[in-house]
């Protein structure tokens, strides 16, 4: 699936909830299923700065696609991280670099990812794109 398609899928999953409570319950569930980072990567090097909770992110390159794994000590954060991984993991560097994250707004979680917010999830998206950038450069050379 393309990034666009996955985002639409997520938006439609969330559209069945009209209550914030259900939305967050679902998010908490998703948090429990985040593709776990290998324990040996849970180092300061992989820590995303600016988060209230700690978030570790790892990226791998296989066949011109990037695969992310992550963890966090806060479960709601993990839920959102999981959404981002679903969207970005297994995509090409170009697709990741081009993608926006408007779907977060569409599912009514905008407070977690608005670009001027000084929270760590914004840094997390930046970090994912940075990985994509780096792989792209490697590819191009």
């Amino acid at each position: 699936m393309t990034i666009q398609e996955i985002q639409e899928q997520i938006v439609s999953e969330f559209s069945v909830f009209d209550d914030w409570l259900d939305k967050y319950n679902y998010l908490i569930e998703m948090g429990k299923e985040v593709p776990r980072i290998d324990e040996r990567f849970k180092t300061n090097n992989h820590l995303i700065s600016g988060c209230q909770s700690r978030v570790w992110l790892h990226a791998e390159n296989r066949e011109s696609k990037i695969y992310f794994t992550a963890d966090s000590d806060a479960v709601i954060t993990k839920g959102i991280v999981n959404l981002l991984i679903r969207v970005f993991s297994g995509q090409s560097p170009e697709a990741i670099l081009d993608a926006d994250t408007n779907f977060i707004e569409q599912i009514g979680l905008k407070e977690h990812l608005s670009p001027t917010r000084s929270n760590g999830l914004v840094s997390m998206v930046k970090q994912m794109k940075l990985y994509a950038q780096v792989y792209k450069l490697k590819q191009d050379n």
Partner: protein, 410 residues
């Protein structure tokens, strides 16, 4: 004496427009008062009035607006002096806030007195603003930052404090009330102990001025600092009270504007107190707003506010304790203002996020007191902090919301 009656509280709340709004469709319950309080209409109006009719740069202006604004500004200085019972208006310096007040002292008092190897004594519960400036000052003088440690309740051991005083630090800098734990330090005793060793004392009053009567002469502290925005006043204004004998000796910190007397290209003589420490155009609107905030506190009765808050805090504390897995961080015998807690199996930021969705604004994180978090071995806490306008009903909703969040997360 009791807290506010229902109708008194109602009247009081009506003075705060920010309280009457909804967040995600839920009525706002504002329990982040230790970060900053909401502002009563009279403070907002004072600022508006200033910018609408009185706005002008002060001092040295011969024209009407400038003279009026200067008079209004200096009137607030006298009002602040009265509010904290300073001996003289000149002992009140306007700054941008607690942080700037402390940095001013660290720099200027440091220049006056510090030599190689000199140290400062603080406690283990200081806000970064009353920790990092001293840590850096000590570092620059190859001195050691002395730290009176906390016990498991979040209190300072008076015995250890006494021992550390014997190491003759050049200054003691302690918070009146901990913003992370709610501990009220026995500062009167601590000041007396330091003075018995001829050591001057700075009190960080950021968390106390809005909750209790302050008398700097009775306390006999050498410095007392606080922020306007945590006492119902505007942002961008704070106070540094210092005993005249220190302020007279201390060199100026920032240069420019009203703080000079005679300036030639190669020599400058400085103005007298308090102007010596007020460089550049001051925040006149902020100072006038602070004056209005003091009016508000005096009209409302500061002692009654303190009592009212204590009733609500104790009520919330007891109810919270019934939540399974909860751990209250900070259990000092004397406490005020804040409740900090964690819940087993949850992260503070998760609880904060869910409370927010229920309209309850609390702060989560390290509260700019990372060493406190390290001491209690927590990544951060959820902190509810109370002000004059909070109610028992709000405490109920808050505790229920915490219960609900915990149910979702565990």
């Amino acid at each position: 004496m009791n807290g506010f009656t229902a109708s008194e509280l109602n009247e009081l709340r009506n003075q705060f427009p920010a309280l009457h709004q909804s967040i995600y469709g839920k009525p706002l319950i504002y329990l982040d008062n230790a970060a900053t309080t909401q502002k009563p209409q009279l403070v907002i109006d004072r600022i508006t009035k200033y910018y609408t009719f009185e706005n002008c740069n002060i001092h040295r202006g011969v024209h009407y607006l400038s003279q009026e604004a200067t008079a209004a500004y200096e009137d607030v200085r006298a009002k602040v002096a009265g509010f904290i019972h300073a001996a003289k208006s000149e002992e009140v310096i306007f700054t941008r806030g607690t942080t700037e007040s402390i940095n001013l002292i660290a720099s200027s008092f440091g220049k006056l007195l510090f030599e190689t190897g000199d140290s400062v004594l603080i406690t283990g519960m200081e806000h970064h603003s009353n920790l990092v400036p001293w840590q850096q000052l000590c570092k620059n003088h190859n001195g050691e930052l002395l730290v009176a440690e906390l016990d498991e309740r979040g209190e300072v051991s008076m015995e250890q404090y006494g021992k550390l005083l014997e190491q003759k630090p050049k200054l003691v800098a302690i918070t009146h009330i901990s913003n992370a734990l709610g501990t009220v330090n026995p500062i009167k005793e601590m000041i007396a102990m330091a003075h018995a060793n001829d050591i001057p004392v700075l009190i960080d009053g950021a968390q106390s001025v809005a909750h209790m009567r302050i008398d700097v002469q009775e306390l006999d502290c050498d410095f007392f600092v606080f922020s306007g925005h945590k006492m119902y006043g505007p942002m961008g204004v704070g106070v540094l009270y210092g005993k005249q004998k220190w302020l007279e000796q201390m060199p100026p910190w920032q240069f420019g504007g009203e703080m000079v007397d005679q300036v030639s290209l190669h020599e400058t003589t400085f103005n007298q107190l308090p102007f010596k420490f007020e460089a550049g155009t001051p925040n006149v609107a902020g100072v006038l707003g602070l004056g209005a905030a003091i009016d508000f506190l005096q009209q409302t009765d500061l002692e009654k506010i303190g009592l009212h808050e204590m009733i609500i805090l104790n009520y919330a504390l007891e109810k919270l304790k019934s939540i399974p897995g909860i751990r209250i961080i900070g259990n000092a015998a004397e406490r005020a203002g804040v409740i900090s807690f964690v819940v087993e199996g949850t992260h503070p930021s998760d609880i904060g996020t869910l409370l927010d969705k229920m309209g309850v604004a609390v702060r989560t994180g390290h509260h700019c007191a990372q060493p406190v978090m390290t001491h209690f071995n927590v990544p951060g806490t959820v902190r509810a902090s109370f002000a004059a306008y909070n109610s028992l009903a709000e405490a109920d909703i808050f505790v229920e919301a915490v219960q609900k969040a915990v149910n979702m997360l565990c």
